[in-house]
């Protein structure tokens, strides 16, 4: 890393996921190899070919007071819960609001609000709508609410890049601090899209697993039997901070947020370019941005959504960009795919893997696909050896967005 560049560190983590209502419960479930996927019981399940999902383990209604919850879309509820946890975890410091930023996006936004408000509008008329309908459906709502909560005035931003959203937010947060716009940034992603319309739409794109008889075994990245992704919901949010600021206040530092790389495939609106160059180049750019070499990277948290094409393309891209030595996990095998929240929680898992020097195993990896030349973690979690370690979180999104975020040990 160039000497004149501000080092950005991670000082707080917050999440609510299908595996747990916070980071600690989610992480321990991952290490135990538990699945957060279950059969759905909603009425609309009969109308769609996919009948399971990764529903948040703790309903946000159990956490938030009713007056607050009713003004927030479910995606905003997740985001606010995760942001509060992350801020508490960072020590809830008294900081200058003009130096505190927020970057929290969502892949889809307040889709639950849009659909229920539309029904209400059609059935009862415009004047039955909540005056909060617009801030509930807008995809930047989470960023706005978090900025109000924390008094963050250095800018509140919402990236939107489908399933790369959470990772892109963290990359943007790193840049905000490096460019001198902020000392601290609360960054990540959220999603609440388990609704009949979304399931139907993803199913129409032939992107989802239909393993209805074995929901816990449906998300199986890199396995021969994989047949599509499994929808999840929740949020993952981190507190980024300049190292100088963190050291000055004696903060606990989890890892260095060393850099991010971005490319766009410019190939197909939903499918990865089979040559995998977009993902490869995103990883290489993240490494250059972090002043790291491929040989420094010991671990990759793959995007690996359990789709037949995507996983193999990504495995090849990791092999090309990083090398066969990379210890690769795919935590969507347990959480499902949180879309805009994925890059948030998976960055947290990458950070914790470095911090605790252990990588969760890929669940349901019974029979790895042929031709995968990276080191997939099977069976038991894998320990990471060594002092100075680097790891990458990959997140790729519909639209052709490729984002890689590089983290290192402190």
């Amino acid at each position: 890393m160039s000497k004149d560049r501000v080092r950005v560190v991670v000082t707080g983590l917050g999440a609510t996921t299908p595996l747990g209502g916070d980071v600690a419960s989610t992480w321990s479930a991952l290490l135990e190899g538990r699945s957060g996927i279950r059969t759905l019981t909603e009425d609309w399940v009969d109308t769609v070919p996919v009948k399971f999902a990764g529903v948040a383990a703790v309903d946000p209604g159990e956490v938030l007071p009713r007056p607050e919850a009713r003004r927030l879309d479910r995606a905003e509820q997740f985001a606010l819960i995760a942001a509060r946890q992350a801020w508490q975890d960072a020590g809830a410091p008294e900081v200058d609001g003009d130096r505190l930023g927020v970057v929290v996006g969502s892949g889809i936004g307040g889709i639950g609000t849009i659909l229920s408000a539309y029904d209400l509008y059609r059935e009862k008329g415009w004047n039955r709508l909540s005056p909060f309908t617009v801030p509930m459906l807008m995809p930047n709502g989470s960023a706005g609410w978090i900025s109000i909560e924390l008094g963050a005035k250095a800018g509140a931003h919402a990236t939107v890049s489908a399933c790369a959203t959470g990772a892109e937010s963290i990359g943007y947060g790193i840049d905000m601090i490096r460019s001198g716009r902020a000392d601290m940034v609360v960054a990540g992603g959220t999603e609440a899209a388990i609704h009949g319309l979304n399931v139907a739409s993803f199913a129409a794109a032939r992107a989802m697993s239909t393993r209805n008889d074995e929901p816990e075994r449906a998300s199986r990245p890199f396995d021969k039997g994989r047949d599509g992704f499994v929808l999840g919901e929740g949020a993952g949010i981190v507190v980024l901070e300049s190292e100088e600021h963190a050291l000055a206040r004696g903060a606990r530092i989890y890892a260095v947020a060393a850099g991010a790389g971005y490319t766009s495939d410019a190939y197909h609106i939903t499918g990865l370019d089979p040559d995998g160059k977009g993902g490869q180049e995103a990883m290489l750019r993240a490494l250059r941005n972090a002043d790291l070499a491929p040989s420094d990277v010991v671990h990759v948290n793959a995007h690996a959504t359990s789709t037949p094409l995507g996983d193999e393309i990504e495995a090849r891209a990791i092999k090309e960009a990083i090398g066969g030595h990379a210890i690769v996990t795919a935590t969507k095998s347990m959480t499902g795919h949180l879309l805009g929240g994925a890059g948030g929680i998976e960055s947290i898992f990458t950070i914790l893997a470095l911090h605790e020097r252990i990588v969760p195993a890929i669940a349901n990896l019974d029979d790895p696909a042929d031709g995968i030349e990276v080191d997939l973690v099977r069976g038991e979690p894998r320990k990471l050896e060594g002092d100075q370690l680097a790891a990458i979180n990959n997140s790729f999104g519909f639209g052709g967005h490729n984002v890689a975020v590089a983290f290192t040990t402190v």
Binding site: R66, P67, R128, S130
Partner: protein, 79 residues
């Protein structure tokens, strides 16, 4: 059948508690929404929407702004 003041008050207390978190028993007729209960204009819209559903009485925006106290709303609903 017309509702009594007590019945409307109880219903309003429930609605205001749901929307603002203010305990229902603090919602008494003489209280001003802005000065005593610290309820902002958007929350008043939420309360009006909920009251319309609960009591079946439309509260137009130009009327809503004149309803300053809990008692004003009760009277409007009874009228």
């Amino acid at each position: 059948m017309a509702l009594t003041e007590q019945e409307i008050l109880a219903g309003l207390g429930k609605i205001i508690n749901e929307i603002t978190g203010i305990p229902a028993d603090e919602v008494t007729p003489e209280k001003s929404f802005v000065d005593d209960l610290d309820i902002d204009s958007l929350s008043m819209v939420e309360i009006a929407v909920a009251a319309q559903d609960e009591f079946g009485v439309e509260i137009p925006d130009d009327q809503l702004k004149h309803l300053k106290t809990v008692k004003d709303v009760i009277s409007f609903i009874q009228a």
